[in-house]
């Protein structure tokens, strides 16, 4: 893999150029630990020591809420107007390895048959500039789902902090190579030995479970008290799904409408809500929180794998850090692993 060096100053110039060149740069600023559109290099912070943001950057490709059609009623004839989508390319700056693959993973469901253009037009051609992760707490478990704090998987370009003032910049994909081409002037020659040494010193979170074992256990243990035990604690707030970089369920509802005009929206939804699967008849296939929690676990560690050959989890630990009642997904899955 080709490797260059970019200084912190040059990273700022690079980001300013990207903005000038009409890219939408999504990053984190120094005050907040959430993602936002960056308007100038003064805002940026690429910090490998940061805790993963509260919520992931998925909202920039899979919007929290967005119109899918507008309609107007003209003398009982409806005009349907399609919302315009942004044409600029998205650049995600400073994605940790537990964020970098999120678009790739979600892309499977948004494209397995019908193609969702609301996702695709933002995701296609987006560039992920990852950064090696030097943060770790008890909720992190990327190594259990096939990732690691130092993996470049999912990134087009990958930054490794060399010292206070310099990053190594690994050119991971062809797309990344093309993308960086116009900005060569900010790069100098790299020294792979040094970045390798730095990466080798980063400690891996302990591996908590084997995904193949977990998936097999889930196949054979649809009914098990472990789900009810967690379900008894879970308050069904849905935080876990909203914070997650790869949860992708949504609702379709009409909003702000009257007889003459309105809009139909696609809004984030969560399988932990009791209304999620409630039939009109009153029947609910997942009538208890335990059944809903089982869906969460089985979707992530079995169904998505069966269907799309991906674990629907990157081990970021966000859902656990944010859970108001202290449910730790890695703990639950590790328990399943010990049962298997």
């Amino acid at each position: 893999m080709e490797e260059k060096i970019i200084s912190l100053d040059n990273l700022s110039f690079f980001v300013n150029d990207l903005i000038k060149d009409n890219h939408i740069v999504i990053g984190q600023d120094s005050k907040e630990i959430n993602w936002k559109r960056i308007t100038g290099a003064k805002d940026i912070v690429v910090n490998s020591k940061n805790i993963p943001s509260n919520i992931s950057y998925k909202e920039f490709v899979f919007a929290k809420t967005e119109p899918i059609i507008y309609y107007k009623n003209k003398k009982d004839e409806f005009d349907i107007v399609e919302p315009a989508l942004p044409r600029q390319k998205l650049v995600f700056l400073g994605a940790k390895p537990c964020d970098a693959r999120s678009i790739e993973i979600m892309s499977k469901v948004f494209n397995w048959d019908y193609k969702d253009k609301f996702f695709n037009e933002r995701a296609e051609g987006s560039i992920v500039i990852g950064v090696a992760c030097n943060y770790q707490d008890k909720f992190c478990f990327c190594t259990s789902v096939g990732l690691s704090p130092v993996t470049e998987k999912g990134s087009d370009l990958f930054l490794v902090p060399l010292d206070e003032k310099n990053f190594a910049l690994q050119i991971v994909t062809e797309r990344g190579k093309e993308f960086i081409q116009p900005y060569q002037k900010y790069l100098s020659d790299g020294n792979q030995a040094k970045s390798k040494e730095i990466l080798s010193k980063i400690k891996n979170p302990e591996k908590r479970f084997e995904t193949s074992k977990v998936s097999e256990w889930l196949t054979n243990n649809f009914e098990h008290k472990i789900f009810d035990n967690v379900g008894d604690i879970c308050v069904g707030c849905g935080q876990c799904a909203f914070a997650c970089p790869v949860c992708h369920c949504f609702d379709i509802v009409d909003e702000e409408c009257d007889y003459s005009s309105g809009r139909r929206m696609k809004n984030w939804d969560a399988c932990q809500f009791g209304l999620f699967t409630l039939h009109g008849s009153g029947h609910n296939p997942r009538e208890t929180q335990g059944k809903r929690y089982r869906q969460r676990i089985a979707h992530k560690f079995k169904y998505y794998q069966d269907k799309f050959d991906e674990v629907l989890c990157t081990g970021c630990g966000r859902c656990s850090r944010g859970c108001p009642v202290g449910i730790d997904i890695a703990e639950v899955v590790a328990e399943i692993n010990s049962l298997a």
Binding site: F78, Y114, K115
Partner: protein, 279 residues
């Protein structure tokens, strides 16, 4: 690359409305756009998303037969927000439509075989689609039996067609109501669907059974069919999970690793048995 907006409905006009029961209506719908009308095709068992602007969308099967392609029909029970809004519409009003979605009944494979249709309540809607499909190609099939039941006489849908089917000599039609649900001059059966199936179902040999209705009816009918010797592959039913997108995206309709909206809604009992019990 990304193509069209998969959530955008086509506009249809209501050309006819039948009040089936106190809370169930049938709409006949035609595409407003000529070229959509020409290119549209579907197969028996598929469904669509029917929308009322300002209220939302609801999932109903296409209840008319693909052999009659000038229109589609849907029958729906007034049960909530969208179905109440639909109930208020009149002939000439517009309805949004997305579809056809999902898989379909194996009509081609059923040719040359006997078919028994078993339906309960509004479950006759998807079955009616394949009944007419079969009757319009009557010579391609051997014996055809229809068994339909509802809670009471007033809950029977498609009453005109039930009469027509009963009068036909080339099919056997049995209609039943739950005990207590009959009216004074009721000339059909009285009893629950599974019991009637046991009484009048054809022999299992070379026969396919299509069963749709409330979960409780399906639950008690399948053992009866098995007792009669029907193989699990020859018992076909549909699942009706709550849906939003109908496109395998919104994550709402799954049973295990199966998206009911894409991999279903039609399943053989053999396939159903493989699924986790969560429907």
């Amino acid at each position: 690359m990304s193509g069209s907006n998969i959530y955008k409905p086509e506009m249809m006009e209501i050309t006819d409305i039948v009040q089936e029961t106190s809370d169930t209506k049938t709409f006949r719908l035609k595409f407003k756009n000529e070229s959509t009308a020409k290119s549209f095709s579907f197969k028996a068992g598929q469904f669509g998303e029917y929308g009322v602007f300002g209220e939302g969308e609801s999932t109903f099967c296409i209840a008319s037969s693909p052999t009659r392609s000038e229109y589609i029909e849907c029958s729906f029970k007034q049960i909530g927000k969208v179905t109440t809004a639909l109930t208020r519409l009149r002939v000439g009003d517009s309805v949004g439509f997305r579809g056809p979605y999902g898989n379909y009944f194996p009509v081609e494979e059923m040719k040359g075989k006997n078919v028994v249709f078993i339906a309960g309540g509004i479950g006759l809607a998807p079955v009616r689609c394949v009944i007419w499909n079969t009757l319009d190609l009557r010579n391609d099939f051997k014996d055809v039996t229809i068994i339909y039941g509802a809670r009471s006489f007033n809950d029977l849908v498609y009453k005109r067609e039930l009469k027509e089917w009963k009068e036909r000599k080339d099919i056997k039609t049995v209609v039943t109501v739950d005990p207590g649900g009959e009216v004074p001059d009721w000339d059909g059966e009285i009893g629950f669907v599974p019991a009637i199936v046991e009484k009048v179902a054809p022999k299992a040999e070379n026969t396919v059974a299509i069963v749709c209705g409330p979960p409780i009816m399906i639950k008690f009918t399948i053992p009866v069919l098995q007792k009669l010797g029907f193989a699990e592959e020859n018992i076909i039913t549909t699942l009706e999970n709550r849906m939003k997108c109908g496109l395998g995206k919104c994550g709402r309709c799954n049973v295990g690793n199966v998206y009911v909206c894409k991999d279903g809604p039609v399943f053989t009992y053999a396939q159903m048995k493989e699924l986790p019990q969560e429907y």
